[in-house]
Symmetry: C2
Subunit: 433 residues, 2 copies
């Protein structure tokens, strides 16, 4: 007996999935003991663009309703993306008792729990390995691989585009705009890059894996999010002087009162494995109460790596269907348990990197130091790189560990100072992994 | 309804497992939706050593037969180790239709496939995440997380003791014997260290994960294995000069004619994530046809990290029992498929690091170069560190990529040269990850 798959959407993820299902069919069949058959392919371009050769007859349609109501199809792959049609497709498929495999991080981060409930009520499964960190099977790791542990904290690099841009700035000392243009040319960044460079994509992924790791209902709205647009080449120079580098770091960390969740550019020590993550890669560092630290790394996106995640999910769901055992354990928390209630990020404590651009004038350091002192923030170091042109030269103050609340209050006052050329840039210096 | 567990063996792994099952019981229950109950504990020391407080009555016995024949017990944890009693326990439990979770790499590497068959015939499961790489859920990753991919090559650091010893030699320049003594004092190495430092433990683990990754029936006998006893501090000095470091590297790689499998000290480039793996950690680098490269890192051993693997397996098997769906897909290949037939390591090609200790004499390099040339091995560099005491100073020749067969033949001739103080040391320089 075979299990039949209907594939909706032939963009990056959909076409990568289709390629693997066809090219790797024999290996999949050997591993499963039965074949996964592509029974339908749906795309708006289905009449106009060439499709691969299929060994067996395949329904080709531009109407997704034909796929979700197809009597032979057991599993629907939603590779459309977005929260509109994709949601309709998933809901309709689940109601028709078809399991769904999706790569849709946006929708899963926002409505994953309720869609999973719908799947559960209809006795089918909803799988989403591909929604986070492309080629890294982090969903499987958290749900099964280390299920026996209690996650205490989790650090991730979850947006490949931002990581590519940051590590290019680091390597070439080019500025953000020109590296972004390069990333767009290479296809690593979209025409509208805001989901990537403003941290929204990373926050959706962090919401999905944190919900799973901590068993708490979480959405992107619970996550303090800041992007990388303001990072300059000189920030890497200062960071290196401090034996650190800069990454768009996702953090979910248990504190005394609940969970601290953030996505923001951060300084991390150069001598860590996380600092070795370069280019369009993703990585996740997990600390468990019992298993201590584990680390996972791989391609963050791309048709084939994400396709592997979709196909691996298809194999898992196909086994369940074949052996009559749909998933019964939710990948989502369905209530707020309290212990892991998201906390205001302003309660967190860390050393901070503060970068200032000012007009040259006497007494600047004294003025800034006085404001920091007033907010009980200790100064660790003042750094200024030697340069021929001193005009507008940014300089940096690093602080002793301080509450983010104090830092923010101080920065509000500092922002009013007339010698500032632009608002100060503040980044936490994150250690402990 | 609960699922009942009988735990046999209270050494490192058994006691770590028991601690987690008791301390983390509530979280496990929340994740599963039902409790995992410890129904029996068996150890030779059960009468004499203190056991934790149990909330419910627990059978305490020194006789494993009482556990495997206990009517209430659903899953038996074999944490005894070795291939004697452990094998009896597993076989007997499976025959009595109890699923088994084991951490026994030696037994699984040698007899995993037949034991899995026995489980299959009896409609139960045999799970072994804990048998490889302690805290890293590599079994789950390969079986489910990236099941849709085709693994092309795999590089691992799979013995924490050896990695601790090598990175200590690297850090402190102390010699093998004194670092081994330190590792023994810290409990990282056993009184008889040969399973660790001679590569046998790593080979058993490589056999298990390669069988899973490539779908080929493999045992440690298929793996070329060499230990780390001959590595000297000066080898790290030379390696660093070459911008490399030295690790006990496990390799499984698809070549034209089959699989190349080896465990041996190797030079790897310093600028790789694998080179950042220090101390008693394990790591695995996988390259897939579709998912490209992924990397996994964590504690290689220890009661708690290995306990997490056992408990996570227990949770998986408990779900299967609860929902009537025992695992039906073998983690082992049961025949030789041909495509992945193990190859003689002598067919492999790589650049080599050759280290010589000689009596000072004229014409040594010329003699060695002539022998290498005769075997068509190109010399890449000759290295000799400056030292005050030149007597016995080891020096190094690195080669162009050459067949291992040619290197071996050349070394057989070189070994006969009278000016050699000890046989040459040859290590491949491995790149590509």
């Amino acid at each position: 007996m075979e299990v039949a798959v209907g594939l909706i959407g032939l963009g990056n993820v959909g076409s990568g999935t289709l390629d693997i299902l066809l090219e790797n069919a024999q290996s999949i069949r050997e591993k499963l003991g039965f074949p996964l058959r592509v029974a339908a392919v749906c795309s708006r371009s289905v009449g106009t663009r060439p499709l691969p050769e299929f060994a067996e007859p395949v329904l080709r349609t531009a109407d997704w309703r034909e796929v979700v109501s197809h009597p032979e199809i057991d599993i629907v792959v939603e590779a459309v993306g977005g929260t509109g049609t994709a949601r309709q497709i998933i809901e309709e498929a689940l109601r028709k008792h078809k399991s769904v495999v999706t790569a849709n991080k946006e929708l899963m981060a926002q409505r994953g729990a309720e869609l999973w409930n719908l799947a559960h009520r209809n006795g089918v499964n909803l799988a989403m390995e591909a929604s986070v960190a492309g080629g890294i099977p982090i969903h499987t790791v958290l749900r099964e691989g280390i299920a026996g542990d209690r996650v205490v904290e989790l650090y991730g690099i979850l947006n490949g585009t931002s990581n590519f841009i940051l590590t290019e700035i680091e390597k070439s000392q080019a500025n953000f705009q020109s590296v972004l243009a390069e990333a767009q040319q290479l296809g690593y960044a979209e025409a509208d890059p805001s989901a990537d460079v403003d941290g929204l994509d990373a926050a959706a992924k962090l919401a999905i894996i944190s919900a799973l790791a901590f068993g708490e209902r979480l959405t992107p709205a619970d996550i303090y999010t800041e992007g990388i647009r303001r990072i300059m080449p000189i920030d890497f120079e200062y960071a290196h002087q401090l034996k650190h580098t800069i990454r768009l770091l996702c953090i979910a960390r248990q504190s005394e009162n609940g969970l601290l969740l953030s996505v923001r550019p951060s300084l991390i020590p150069q001598q860590t494995i996380l600092a070795q993550v370069k280019g369009a890669y993703n990585a996740i560092w997990i600390r468990g109460s019992y298993g201590e630290d584990t680390f996972y790394y791989g391609r963050g996106a791309g048709p084939k790596p994400t396709g592997v995640a979709v196909v691996s999910d298809l194999m898992k769901v196909a086994r369940e269907i074949r052996f009559g055992s749909p998933e019964r354990v939710s990948p989502f928390a369905h209530e707020r348990l309290g212990e892991y209630r998201p906390q205001e990020i302003s309660t967190q404590s860390a050393p901070y990197y503060l970068r200032f651009r000012v007009e040259d004038k006497a007494g600047i350091i004294a003025t800034l130091a006085a404001i920091l002192a007033k907010h009980k923030i200790g100064i660790d170091a003042v750094l200024q790189l030697p340069r021929e042109d001193w005009r507008d030269l940014p300089f940096v103050i690093t602080t002793e560990p301080a509450r983010e609340k104090a830092i923010r209050d101080a920065l509000i006052e500092i922002r009013e100072l007339e010698f500032l050329v632009e608002p100060p840039l503040a980044m936490p210096m994150v250690r402990g992994f």
